[in-house]
């Protein structure tokens, strides 16, 4: 079997070298270089010779995460394992939804990464066992998912939530906040979705319960 060609993207040089050092000990893997950023990787012609990408997600809030659709569009055959400090269920969910095949937390021992690399290169998927506890809790009690609920609203959504509760239409909100009506409607949709509400009457009653109107 040909060795799996693995490339590492991480903004910390020491970390990249460390990972490559570990990979070099595994006969089934061959290093296919390292990049500091997604851009460097995408600009390099050698990205055609990569089977599997180890992608760091710790560069700010979801910065590399947002690049995943682009990576997938440009290199549809490439398989991706997210390598990250974060183990919050909400981020795992977001990352998996963005189309990675594996998720490994940086705190894990090298054997975990090795298992992930094998599994994903064979066409499978892999979640770090380290995540079991938090994902288990999430299944038991979905309300703990911080992707939903009031705490998950962005500042803009908080503001629009209040204005909707005060009785403003999407049209009026768009004029007040200098955004398009379409944008205001999209916000309204997202807010209702995050809060699990189905009508403006429910929204008003929830806003009253929160004391914001």
């Amino acid at each position: 079997m040909d060795p799996i060609r693995v490339h590492v993207i991480d903004d910390h040089a020491l970390f990249r070298r460390g990972i490559l050092e570990i990979l070099s000990k595994w006969p089934e893997v061959r290093s296919a270089g390292e990049s500091e950023t997604v851009d460097t990787f995408l600009d390099s012609p050698m990205n055609q010779a990569v089977d599997l990408l180890l992608l760091d997600l710790s560069m700010g809030e979801g910065l590399n995460l947002d690049r995943l659709p682009e990576i997938r569009a440009r290199l549809p055959e490439l398989r991706v394992i997210a390598l990250t400090m974060h183990n919050k269920p909400v981020l795992v969910k977001k990352t998996v939804n963005a189309g990675v095949q594996g998720y490994v937390v940086k705190q894990s021992p090298p054997e975990v990464l090795r298992a992930a690399v094998r599994r994903v290169s064979e066409g499978g998927r892999y979640l770090d066992p380290e995540l079991s506890e938090s994902l288990y809790q999430l299944i038991l009690d979905p309300s703990r998912d911080d992707a939903s609920g009031y705490a998950a609203l962005t500042p803009r959504e908080q503001e629009i939530f209040r204005l909707l509760a005060e009785g403003l239409s999407a049209e009026l909100i768009s004029r007040k906040l200098f955004i398009s009506k379409k944008t205001a409607e999209n916000h309204r949709f997202r807010i209702m979705q995050k809060l699990g509400l189905t009508s403006i009457a429910e929204l008003v009653s929830y806003a009253d319960e929160l004391g914001v109107i």
């Binding site: 009031y150 609203l153 500042p155 908080q158 503001e159 929160l210 004391g211």
Partner: protein, 158 residues
């Protein structure tokens, strides 16, 4: 208003923990139970003046509820609603008729403490409202911008 020294722990413990402590103290003094919910804001973005005024508001509001309201339950909410942090303190007590409010010192009208509080909130650029109806409880709401830069004004020093 209860003009003790500023609580020493407020800056360290933060507003959320400190108001929980006030609610516990309120219960020990025989007040009705307080249901607390705080959501959607960040302690680190709260400036110290705003934190202190909101703390005083809860302290004063709970004291009034114990003295006048005869309430069975109290709801305290501290909720981020951009660009504001909104404090809402609601009781199901006997309430009062705001039109008959003789002045800031009339019982049930809030007392001197609330009148001072209102001035402090406004000096921070915030909004203050006290709503009540006889038999329908009382509701105090304060909206302020948590980290707002504001020019110094003489009233801010009161």
């Amino acid at each position: 208003m209860t003009y003790g020294l500023a609580p020493l722990h407020l800056d360290q413990a933060g507003l959320a923990a400190s108001v929980r402590e006030l609610a516990a103290e309120h219960l020990r003094r025989g007040g009705p139970p307080v249901d607390i919910e705080e959501l959607g804001w960040d302690e680190s973005r709260l400036d110290p003046d705003t934190r202190l005024v909101l703390y005083r508001a809860v302290q004063e509001g709970l004291a009034n509820i114990r003295k006048y309201a005869g309430a069975g339950k109290v709801e305290l909410r501290l909720v981020g609603s951009h660009p504001y942090l909104i404090l809402s303190l609601r009781d199901d007590g006997r309430g009062f008729d705001p039109r008959s409010r003789g002045g800031p010192t009339s019982p049930g009208g809030g007392g001197l403490g609330l009148a001072l509080l209102e001035r402090q909130v406004r000096s921070l650029g915030g909004e203050y409202s006290l709503e009540s109806r006889p038999g329908a409880g009382t509701r105090l709401q304060i909206r302020c911008e948590p980290g707002k830069e504001r020019p110094w004004t003489p009233s801010a020093s009161t």
